[in-house]
Symmetry: C2
DNA sequence: TCCGATTAATGGACTTTTGCAACTATGATT
DNA sequence: AATCATAGTTGCAAAAGTCCATTAATCGGA
């Protein structure tokens, strides 16, 4: 069971009766809160794996592995970060030997990103961890409920980042 | 429609066919991503309102309004933040005249937080904004789907922060 | 009733992130 | 060729979060 860090300092009794006011019915509140919790938990699970600390390294690694030659600006858009923030992530990952940059043949302003052997190995290592962590984090959801969440949140996500909606099978 | 900031720099074509690898089915990925987007959007909507920049000020304000004398450590637990981080939030809000600290009658180590007139007025102002923003952010969800998300995510949230589960009506 | 352990709140120093704006180089437009 | 837009980059400064130590008060025995 995933629990809040240690700091369970406050008397459990004290918190049990706290109402969240209107936030009780505010979806974004739960998203913001759960984000913190789930991100921390993931960091722990990934501890030592060179991609810890969620700055988008995981997404970058997987996307580069999946799409050789992808541009950093595309990744930036998907992870909703500034281009300049992406540069730093790529810098770091290049130093770590996880990927390489190479100028695009057609457009010399752009450069494609390519995974290295080491990067691919890492990607293969973390894929199952990431998937498992996410599922394990929500033990109180049935598989169906879990799928429902992915479907609904994915819909909004795709709209926002400009990805086409999934065709309803 | 909520869209990503301005920076729609990249050619829409380039992004349309990008697959997210395993992240496609990772709930935490959507939560992390949407968190960024929804938080930014809220900041914009709240611009100028003294509680912008999501450091938990909104939650703090609403909770203090709802629960006079609540302790900062309880709020810290609910917003999943370090106690020392809470101190700074409370400091700031006290300076802004939104709330006051007063030693607890029963336990002199603790201090309760109390809202001021100004704080209450602000709380009344932002309540509808927060609720509306959250709903508007998910225009592609039906009311029922929206309720479903709140129910499911709320369940996990409550478990994590140690709030009792909602009795199924 | 005194001592040690515990808890609440706080303060300080530190590291990490991040967002913005400016800059270069290349490509596109007219 | 002149102008404008775009990809990537860099530096800077603000903001956030973490870690650790400190103060003060309470509680539980011996």
């Amino acid at each position: 069971m995933v629990q809040l860090k240690s700091k369970r300092s406050t008397d459990p009794e004290a918190i049990a009766h706290v109402g969240l006011d209107v936030l009780e019915n505010v979806l974004s509140y739960y998203i913001r809160s759960l984000n913190m919790a789930v991100s921390r938990d993931l960091d722990e699970k990934l501890d030592g794996l060179e991609v810890a600390k969620g700055t988008g390294k995981i997404t970058t690694l997987l996307l580069v592995d999946r799409h050789p030659g992808i541009r950093s600006s595309v990744i930036a858009q998907l992870v909703m970060r500034d281009r300049s923030a992406m540069v730093r992530v790529v810098d770091q990952m290049e130093e770590q030997g996880l990927l390489t940059r190479r100028a695009d043949d057609e457009d010399n302003r752009a450069q494609g990103l390519f995974i290295t052997r080491k990067g691919r190995e890492l990607a293969d290592r973390i894929r199952p961890v990431v998937v498992k962590q996410s599922r394990d984090f929500f033990p109180d959801l049935s598989d169906e409920e879990h799928r429902t969440l992915i479907t609904l949140l994915g819909r909004t996500y795709r709209r926002i980042v400009g990805l086409p909606q999934q065709t309803p099978a």
